[in-house]
Amino acid sequence: MEQKRWELPPGRAEEGFEDKKPLFTLAEAVAESNRCLYCADAPCIKACPTAINIPEFIRKIGTGNVKGAARTILSANILGQSCAQACPVEVLCAGSCVYTGWGREPIAIGRLQRYAVENTLPKSPNLFQARPPTGKRVALVGSGPASIAAAGLLALEGHTCIIYERKQIPGGLNTLGIAPYKLKGPQALKELEWVLSLGRIELRTGVEVVEHATAPGQLAASELLSTHDAVFLGLGLGADSRLGVPGEEGPGVEGATHLIERLKVEPGFKLEGVKHALVVGGGNTALDIAHELALLGVQVSMVYRRSEKEMGGYVHELDAARLDGVRLVESRQPVEVVRKDGKVVAVKLAATREGKPVPGTEELVPTELVVMAIGQERATQVAKAFPGVELDSRGRVKVAAATHRTGHPKVWSGGDCVNGGKEVVNAVAEAKLAVADIQRHLVGE
C-alpha cells in the first residue's frame, strides 16, 4: 500500500514553542537509566495504563540495548512515542516510582521512553512483522490515538484496516490538541505514519461516518457495517462547550480546543491586538491553553468557579503554567462578555459560592480574548447509528469493561468517547483490550 506522508504547513505558531522536556542525550539517558533500581514487582508498571515493563526497558537503555528498549516499550504501547511525550508521568508511572515516596526525584520514565523510541524508529522501523493476511476487514471510525493504536495492532494480526477520519488532518487530538511544548503535530504524524507502515492500513481523511449519508464525504453507518467484519469507534469528544452568557457569540470568544488546533495547524496564526486573555475553566485543557497563551506573550488569567484544591487540572501542570506567568483566579465566574463596537473589551466576573455566581459581586476585568475551556460536547451521537450501541447519561459509548465491545456484536469502542476524556495512554490501553476481543471474534482464538 502506497505510504502517504502527512505534512503540516510551515509558519505555524506551535513551531515557536520550545520542548519542555527535550530529548535526552546519550549521556543523560545512560546516567538516568542507571539510577533506576530495576524494582521487582515494580509499582511504575502498575501505574502505566498500558503496563509497559518499565524497569526492563530502562535497564536495556543502560546496557546500550536501545533498540531492545524500544521493542519492550512498543510491544506494550504502540504509541510509545507520543505517550512518552504527552503522558502526565508525574501522576502515572513516575508518580509511583519508589523514589517519589523516598523523597527523591523519580526516574524520568517518559524522557527515557522518548529516548528509546525516538532513537530507534527512524533507524529500525521494522521492529515488528505483521502476520500473513487473514482477509478480514476492520473499519475504524476516527483517526485519534484510540483508532491508530487499534489499527496498528490489528494490522500486525494480519487484518486489513480502513480508518475513516472526517477531518483533513489525521491523528485526532494527538495531532491537534496536545500542547506544543510536549508534542508537536509533525511528531504525532510521523508516529502515525510509522503505525500505518506496519501493515495494510488505509487512512481515508475527509470521510465522516453518519447515520444517513446525504453529501459527498459522508458514509452511512449501515454501509460500514455491511462492508467490514468488525468496526471500532474511536470518536473522541466533540466541539467545545459554551457557557451561555450574554456577549459570548462573536469574535474574541474562542473554544479552547478549537484555538489550540489553530495554534498547531494554522499557518501564520497571530493573536492580533490581544494583550490579555481570560481562560475559563479549571481542567487540563484550560491549563494547556492558558499556558500556551502565556508562552506566546499574552497576560493570562485563568478563571475557575471553585477553589484551586477542587480543580480538575493536574497540580504539576498548574505549577508549570504559573512559572510561565499564568495567574489563577479562584471562585469567580463570567456572567457576561462585554463588547465595544463588537470587540471584546472585558468580562464581567461574579464571585461564586459552591460554584454558583453570587449576585451583586460583579466586577469588570478588561480582556481582549476569552477562551472557553469548560468541557467538550459529545461526538458520540453517531454511535447510535449502529444498532445496539448505547450511550450512557453523560453521552459516553457504553462498552463491556473487559472487552470494550458495545451492544452491537460487531462494534467495539475505546478512547475519549468511552471514558469521557482521559489521556492518550488510556486510549491506547482501551484499544488493546478491544483488539484482543476483536481478534477472538475474527479468528476465534
Binding site: L37, A40, D41, G95, V98, G101
Partner: protein, 461 residues
C-alpha cells in the same frame, strides 16, 4: 587530634599517605605540588633504562554511574632521562626534607642494580622500592612481575639491593602469583625490612566490539595490562592480609596499595597490617586534593575510636582474619526488614527468590499465589494484610522474611537500596560454638581422606 605521623622501618613520615609510583609521581613539579597538598610521601615513577611508551595506554571500566571503577594501563617505567629524574628528586628532597621520598627502581643486571641504587641514594631518597610487579612490557624483558613471580630470582636481586643500599629497601610485590606467601617469604629470606603491595593485576580491560580489538587500543591491536583502582581493593586487602597473618612476614613494614581512594580505605589497610598506604588511581582520577579528606577523615576516626596514633590502629583486624575452618558454625543470623524504612522496591524479594533461598515473601498473596511464584515453603503465618511502606509510594508493599527458612546469607541486605533498612539479627542457635576444625578433630564431620574416610569415621562413632 591523633598523631598521623608514622615510622616506616625507621623512616619517619608526616602521615601514612604516599603516592604510588605512577604518573602522579612523574616529575619534581608534580611531587612538590602533592606535598603541598598534604601527601606525606611519594614513590617516584620507577627509574630504569629508558623505554618508549605506546598510545593509548589506559583503559577504564565504569559501573553504573560510577566512572573508572577500575583502570588498567600498559604503561612502562619512566620514559624521562634518568639524569633529569635524579636531579629533580634531589631538588624535591632538598626543599621537602621532612617528607618521605622513595625511589622506585627496576633494572636487570647486578651491576645495573649497584649503579642505580648508588645514584638513587645520592638524591637523598629515604627509601628504595624494588619494582618486581609491573605485569606488562617489563616482564617480557625479564623484569617486573617476571621477577616478582619467581621467588628465587626475587630473593637474589633483593639480597643484592640490601647489600648495596644504605637506606631501607622495600620489595614491591606483584599479585600475579599463585601464592603471595612465596615471594613474601623470599623477601624475608633476602633480609629486606619492608614490603609494598599490590602492583597491578594482569588484565584485559575490554573489547571494542566494533573494531574487534581489545582495549586499550594501540593501532589495531592491544595487550594485557595492569588493573588497579577501586575494583582491586578487595584483592589487595586479601593478599596483604595473608602476609600480615604470616608469623615471619608480619614483622616487616608493609605499605598497602590497591584501590585506596579515601580515608576509610586507608584505615582498612592499616587495620589489616599496613604501616603506610600508597595511592595511584584515585589521584589520577581526582587529583592530589583528595588527601585533605584522607587526613581529616583518618584523624577524626582515630579520635572517635580513642586511638592516639596511626600505629594504634595498625594490625587491629589481623587476629580476626581466620581460616574458614576456624569459623563458628553455630552462629546464626536472620534478615530483618525495617517497615518504616522500606520503600517497597522488592529487590530483596527477587534476589532471594532467584539468588538465594526463597524466604522473602510479598504480603497479600494467597498460599496458592505464593506457590505459583515459586515458593516451596510456605510460612505457618501468612500476613495477608498489605503493609504499606511508610517511606514508599502509597500501596507499596513491605516484603516479609520467613525466619524459619532464612539462611542468613545477607544477600537481601546487600541489594536493598535503603541504608539500614535490612539488618541481620543474631538468633540464638542454642548450640555451643563449634568450628569445622573442631568437628574434624572430633570426627563428627567430613574428615581428611575423602568420602570413604568420612564414612568410616561416622561408622566408628
Amino acid at each position: 587530634m591523633a598523631d598521623l605521623s608514622i615510622d616506616f622501618c625507621g623512616v619517619r613520615s608526616p602521615n601514612p599517605f604516599w603516592l604510588a609510583s605512577a604518573p602522579p609521581t612523574n616529575t619534581g613539579d608534580q611531587v612538590m605540588r602533592a606535598f603541598d597538598a598534604g601527601w606525606g610521601g611519594a614513590v617516584w615513577k620507577t627509574l630504569g633504562n629508558p623505554i618508549v611508551n605506546v598510545t593509548s595506554r589506559f583503559g577504564g571500566i565504569d559501573y553504573g554511574n560510577t566512572r573508572l571503577m577500575g583502570l588498567n594501563n600498559i604503561e612502562l617505567i619512566t620514559d624521562r632521562p634518568l639524569e633529569v629524574n635524579l636531579r629533580e628528586m634531589r631538588e624535591v628532597k632538598r626543599r621537602y626534607p621532612k617528607h618521605t621520598l622513595i625511589a622506585s627502581l627496576m633494572v636487570e643486571t647486578k651491576e645495573e642494580w649497584r649503579e642505580i641504587i648508588r645514584k638513587a641514594e645520592d638524591t637523598g631518597a629515604d627509601l628504595l622500592e624494588l619494582n618486581f610487579g609491573c605485569p606488562h612490557g617489563m616482564c617480557e624483558r625479564g623484569m617486573g612481575s617476571a621477577v616478582g613471580a619467581e621467588p628465587k630470582v626475587l630473593e637474589e636481586i633483593a639480597r643484592w639491593a640490601v647489600e648495596f643500599a644504605t637506606v631501607p629497601v622495600i620489595v614491591k610485590l606483584t599479585p600475579n602469583v599463585g601464592d603471595i606467601l612465596e615471594p613474601g617469604e623470599a623477601a624475608v629470606r633476602a633480609g629486606v625490612p619492608a614490603l609494598s603491595l599490590i602492583n597491578t593485576i594482569k588484565s584485559i580491560m575490554g573489547v571494542d566490539l566494533d573494531r574487534m580489538v581489545p582495549l586499550p587500543q594501540v593501532g589495531n591491536a592491544s595487550t594485557n595490562g595492569g588493573y588497579c583502582g577501586p575494583a582491586v581493593k578487595p584483592i589487595a586487602l586479601h593478599l596483604m592480609g595473608q602476609l600480615t597473618r604470616h608469623p615471619q612476614v608480619r614483622k616487616l613494614a608493609i605499605s598497602g596499595i590497591g584501590g585506596i581512594s579515601n580515608w576509610r580505605d586507608a584505615a582498612e589497610f592499616i587495620a589489616l597490617g599496613a604501616t603506610s598506604v600508597q595511592v595511584c588511581t584515585a589521584v589520577m582520577h581526582h587529583g592530589y586534593r583528595i588527601v585533605e579528606d584522607m587526613m581529616e577523615g583518618l584523624s577524626d576516626f582515630l579520635d572517635e575510636k580513642g586511638m592516639k596514633s596511626v600505629s594504634e590502629l595498625r594490625g587491629r583486624a589481623v587476629p580476626a582474619y581466620r581460616e574458614w575452618g576456624e569459623l563458628d558454625l553455630s552462629y546464626k543470623l536472620v534478615a530483618k526488614i525495617d517497615e518504616d524504612k522500606c520503600i517497597g522496591c522488592q529487590l530483596c524479594y527477587v534476589a532471594c527468590m532467584d539468588g538465594s533461598h526463597q524466604c522473602i515473601h510479598i504480603p497479600g498473596r494467597t498460599e496458592e499465589e505464593s506457590r505459583r511464584a515459586g515458593h516451596t515453603h510456605i510460612p505457618k503465618e501468612l500476613p495477608n494484610r498489605v503493609v504499606t511502606a511508610k517511606a514508599g509510594t502509597p500501596g507499596a508493599r513491605v516484603p516479609f522474611v520467613d525466619n524459619d527458612e532464612c539462611v542468613g546469607c545477607n544477600l537481601c541486605q546487600l541489594v536493598c537500596p535503603v541504608p539500614d533498612c535490612i539488618s541481620m539479627v543474631e538468633l540464638p542457635s542454642g548450640k555451643p560454638s563449634e568450628t569445622w576444625n573442631d568437628r574434624v578433630a572430633k570426627g563428627t564431620d567430613f574428615v581428611p581422606g575423602g568420602l570413604d574416610a568420612t564414612l568410616a569415621a561416622r561408622k566408628a562413632r
